[in-house]
Amino acid sequence: MQQPLTEGVYYILLALYEPRHGYGIMQIVEEWSDGRVKLGAGTTYGALKNLQEKKFIETLAGEGRKKEYVITSLGKQIVEAEVTRIKELYNNGRKIIKAEGDL
């Protein structure tokens, strides 16, 4: 079984279904989450380094601030497994709440 991803890593991987540079990731994640998830620069940079080591993402051509990242097929498998896990959490949550008659 795969370990749950942190919210930040999950969103970074989603953002990289399209090639993006570091700051582009931070901006789109903030937008998608309506300003709830504001990734810090240190957090994002550290996550990108770790994800590259794990081969979940790779870099495209470009240097320094123009460096672009994109998700790998292994990374996509990880995201799919995570979506399945979140679905399980969500479905069970809904089932119980419905039984309580609150929804």
Binding site: G40, A41, R65
Partner: protein, 178 residues
């Protein structure tokens, strides 16, 4: 404005720099223990301090600084491994580490640096202390030994501070993911 100040605790230093900024004094540079401030609008900038991994290569440091720059973060000063960043308040609240797991990694990085510094200073206390004991005339060795002991004692303050912050964070992490 120039202020002479000496810090052994990074969180206190960051707090003081931000307090100055909220009064309209923005840190511009640091030379030795002199902090130079420029007057501006009150609370115009938010400052964050970060220590880099001591094994980080020059290329990786440059890459990180390019990254922070692209995120609208300005590097005010670099002192050895310590970076002094600021960001204009128009760009929103400024945090370098936004979730618990990356904060934990950062606390561990800080601790490994403090432990290394304590170890080096402690070694110096022992070797110089031993010289001073063998040859009672070696006043210089005795003096160095005392100075290093003082450094060890002063380093214990920020170390305990980081250990405390880490403990609080771990408690949170047992319940919440971020």
């Amino acid at each position: 404005m120039r202020i002479f100040k000496f810090f052994f605790d990074d969180s206190k230093e960051e707090q003081w720099i931000n307090d100055m900024a909220s009064k309209g004094w923005h840190l511009k540079k640091i030379r030795f223990s002199f902090y130079y401030f420029e007057q501006g609008e009150e609370g115009e900038y938010e400052y964050r301090l970060e220590v880099l991994d001591h094994f980080l290569k020059g290329k990786d440091v440059k890459e990180y600084l390019d990254f922070t720059e692209s995120a609208g973060i300005e590097l005010v000063q670099k002192r050895l491994n310590w970076l002094y960043f600021r960001r204009h308040k128009s760009k929103g609240p400024f945090e370098l580490y936004s979730d618990a797991s990356s904060k934990l990694t950062y606390f561990n990085r800080m601790l490994s640096i403090y432990y290394l510094l304590i170890f080096i200073n402690f070694l110096a206390v022992c070797t110089n202390g031993a010289f001073a004991l063998v040859e009672l005339t070696y006043d210089l060795n005795f003096f160095i030994s005392v100075m290093n002991l003082l450094a060890v004692l002063l380093l214990i303050v920020p170390t305990i501070n980081v250990i405390k912050r880490k403990r609080i964070l771990k408690k949170e992490m047992a319940m919440f993911e971020n």
